[in-house]
């Protein structure tokens, strides 16, 4: 479906290597998004390490104990279940079932949006209690880590909406299948980041 710049117009056939290299089977868009994800992973790692290093270092003000872990856990379940629905998207993609792809994309978007609404609700209540980003060191690290994750979720939602709008039965849109595949990998990454952030930021409060 996707147009790729070809590596050459004539295959002189002298190659003993063509086709044996596994890497050549990968689609460029998919490889590109995987490499991008590895870079973003390091960015999040930097923020999470900062959170951990500074945990307990605040000289004043609130700590992680002000967080409402059960409520966030509920919204977390919505986010993680969106990964399951995203798996349905790629399954339907493999079957070339565009209607199914779009249906499950929209469900994934809905679940992701609910997570974001929940995060907004959490932020609202924190700000109402005067726990702002500039309140103290812990608040600075908390809002930065979760805020950047939320931004990445938002970008994912926008990307999925575009793909859902773009992909349609009977049309051969150049962004088509590999675009959806790439977005799905990105979405799984965003969920995986939350798999690290949620225990480090929220669950940790239960043991200390």
């Amino acid at each position: 479906m996707t147009e790729q710049p070809t590596s050459g117009v004539v295959n002189h056939g002298g190659s003993d290597q063509l086709g044996r290299e596994a890497i050549r089977q990968v689609n460029p868009n998919v490889l590109g998004i995987i490499i991008f994800i590895s870079s973003e992973a390091i960015f999040f790692l930097s923020l999470i390490v900062t959170y951990v290093v500074y945990r307990g270092a605040s000289t004043s003000g609130p700590g992680a104990h002000v967080l409402n872990v059960p409520v966030t856990a509920v919204f977390t379940l919505f986010l993680w279940s969106s990964s399951l629905t995203m798996a349905r998207v790629t399954a339907h993609l493999g079957r070339n079932d565009v209607a199914g792809v779009r249906r499950w994309l929209l469900i994934t978007i809905l679940l992701g949006a609910i997570f974001l609404v929940g995060q907004g609700y959490e932020y609202y209540h924190l700000y109402a209690d005067n726990v702002t980003i500039s309140r103290n060191l812990w608040a600075s690290t908390f809002f930065t880590v979760t805020g950047f994750h939320g931004l990445h979720v938002l970008v994912g939602l926008i990307s999925m909406s575009i793909m859902a709008g773009v992909i349609s039965p009977g049309e051969n849109h150049p962004w088509g299948a590999t675009g959806v595949e790439a977005v799905s990998l990105y979405w799984h990454f965003v969920d995986a980041v939350w798999v690290v952030i949620f225990p480090v930021v929220y669950l940790w409060t239960l043991i200390s």
Binding site: Q4, P5, T6, S7, G8, V9, V10, N11, H12, G13, G14, S15, D16, Q17, L18, E21, I23, R24, V26, P28, L31, G32, I35, F36, S38, S39, E40, I42, F43, L45, S46, L47, T50, V53, Y54, A57, S58, T59, S60, I133, S134, N136, L137, S140, T141, T144
Partner: protein, 547 residues
């Protein structure tokens, strides 16, 4: 063997190529984008060089009044930032952009529009950074912009904001370019070009791209935190709130050290292309050069805190980073020995490109030998943050990266423009550079050993300092003259240079198998790739390259 389809002309969709200025604005062709990168970074090089000339003028004598302290601080900060982020790194990306698809036999990069976006982000980020001069204050806290010096109340002007914002913009472009290069190299190679047959320049670009991808994000995180502290009132580096100023140093140098390898690895690849061609024999130890590149990249991510030996980390941490820093000297040395062995018993042609390649090795090893000296922690405790370091870094950056880039310029200019650069001007350029480089930077080792720290706008009139600084400034003027000669050569050769033809150097990699400059589709017909030197095989069918 499958049938040869000689003379087959592919049918491409008709493209009405734009001309004139719009062509340059709208292009997604990797060659045009490569030229855009090279020209833009050359301009930034000249601007950064001008800043350096002012610095040297201010230091020509003790208590000179050429620049006031604030302007001086802005100039050395912008000099460093420009040379690292706006000159050498994007210049190497520009060369990679131009050459990699040609060298692997591809039609273009994997993501041509992303490629264009990368270039425009470089330009806009650079302009944003320089806009700070007009906005009231350029960044003035060294190119590493340590906190808390760059935070209020110590810096209240907008300088650091422009630094962080400008560099965040360019780094998005750089990450995109690295993704592009990686995917292109992995997926778009011509049939027959296995990873083990990659030209060494392509190999170093591939490894370098991974280094960029994994080393830039922590700097982005550090800049985000600095911006948040400045604009939103967060407390990441607020000591009274529990913040730790050393966290910034760790995050910065986690990029900062790999950054210097990012600035040199592709240059290692460039001279690995030029030296064999001008010595008329294959590169010695291809596998070892390739493997040592990977080793350097891997080790580069584990040595960052050798920039922090004096920050009081503790003897255990110091020991670890000292060991890793000494280790990284070994693969670098292996490369140098391999290049010399490539020259050995060759039939060396003294072209400008080869002179610069040989000069690169000679000058780089001076910086490469002071490096392990700095890894010996007690020595670093003396010379860290002194002019000894300024000497070391300029030997590896100028004597290393820039000399290698000059070698590459003379080598690939004919491919890009279709004309040869003047060899005579090239020789003048070379010798002026050798004299200027060594006169400017070698005495700086002594400045450091006379107790002169970095980032000072003047110095006390103690014995030796004035004389050394005076001669260093003279050397800087000689170096500037060399650059002027080079720029004139570049500009005038477009018009007056001798026509080059496809393959003026009798070289062996794929880019020489097409016209100079190449047509938009690069290759009408790609030669078969059965070894590391496809064109050698074509020219010597009775004696093909066995590797």
């Amino acid at each position: 063997m499958a049938e040869q389809t000689r003379g087959y002309v592919p049918t491409y969709p008709t493209i009405t190529a734009p001309t004139g200025l719009w062509r340059w604005v709208a292009t997604v062709d990797h060659k045009d984008i490569g030229v855009l990168y090279i020209v833009t970074t050359l301009v930034f090089f000249l601007i950064g060089g001008l800043e350096a000339m002012f610095i040297r003028l201010q230091l020509i004598a003790p208590n000179a009044k050429v620049l006031d302290p604030e302007t001086y601080d802005e100039f050395f900060t912008m000099h460093g930032t420009t040379m690292v982020f706006l000159t050498v790194m994007p210049l190497l990306i520009g060369f990679a952009n131009y050459l990699v698809p040609l060298m692997i036999g591809a039609r273009d990069m994997a993501f041509p529009r992303l490629n264009a976006m990368s270039y425009w982000l470089l330009l806009f980020g650079g302009l944003l950074l320089y806009f700070s001069f007009l906005a009231g204050q350029a960044p003035n806290g060294m190119w590493f912009m340590y906190v808390p010096q760059t935070l209020p109340p110590y810096t209240t002007g907008p300088g650091p904001n422009y630094w962080a914002a400008g560099l965040l913009v360019t780094s998005v472009g750089t990450i995109a370019a690295s993704i592009n290069l990686t995917v292109t190299i992995l997926l778009l190679r011509a049939p027959g070009m296995a990873i083990t047959r990659l030209p060494l320049f392509v190999w170093t670009v591939l490894v370098n791209s991974f280094l960029i991808l994994w080393a830039l994000p922590p700097l982005a995180a550090a800049m985000v935190m600095m911006l948040l502290d400045r604009l939103v009132g967060t407390h990441f580096f607020d000591v009274s709130a529990g913040g730790n100023v050393l966290l910034y140093e760790h995050l910065f140098w986690f990029l900062g050290h790999p950054e210097v390898y990012i600035l040199i690895l592709p240059v290692f690849g460039m001279v690995s292309e030029t030296i064999p061609v001008f010595a008329r024999k294959p590169i010695f130890g291809y596998t070892f050069i390739a493997a040592s590149t990977v080793a350097i990249a891997f080790l580069a991510m584990s040595v960052w805190a050798h920039h922090m030996f004096t920050s009081g980390m503790g003897l255990t941490e110091d020991t670890f980073f000292s060991a890793a820093s000494m280790l990284i000297a070994i693969p670098t040395g292996v490369k140098v020995f391999n290049w010399v062995a490539t020259m050995w018993r060759g039939a060396i042609r003294w072209t400008s490109s080869m002179l610069f390649s040989i000069g690169f090795i000679g000058e780089f090893i001076i910086g490469g030998l002071t490096g392990p000296m700095l890894a010996t922690v007690p020595v670093d405790w003396q010379v860290h943050d002194s002019y000894f370091i300024v000497a070391h870094l300029h030997y590896v950056f100028f004597g290393g990266s820039v000399m290698g880039i000059f070698a590459a310029a003379y080598y690939w200019y004919p491919k890009i423009t279709g004309r040869l650069m003047s060899e005579n001007l090239g020789k003048w350029h070379f010798w002026l550079t050798i004299v200027g480089l060594n006169l400017t930077f070698f005495p700086m080792h002594l400045n450091g050993l006379l107790g002169m720290p970095r980032h000072v706008y003047t110095y006390p009139n103690l014995p030796g300092l004035a004389e050394l600084n005076f001669w260093e400034t003279i050397g800087a003027f000689i170096l500037a003259t060399a650059v002027v000669v080079f720029v004139w050569n570049v500009v005038a050769s477009v018009r007056f240079g001798r026509i080059a033809g496809n393959d003026p150097w009798d070289a062996w990699t794929l880019e020489w198998a097409t016209a100079s400059p190449p047509p938009p589709y690069n290759f009408a017909s790609i030669p078969p790739v059965r070894s590391r030197r496809p064109l050698w095989d074509l020219k010597h069918p009775e004696n093909p390259d066995p590797r």
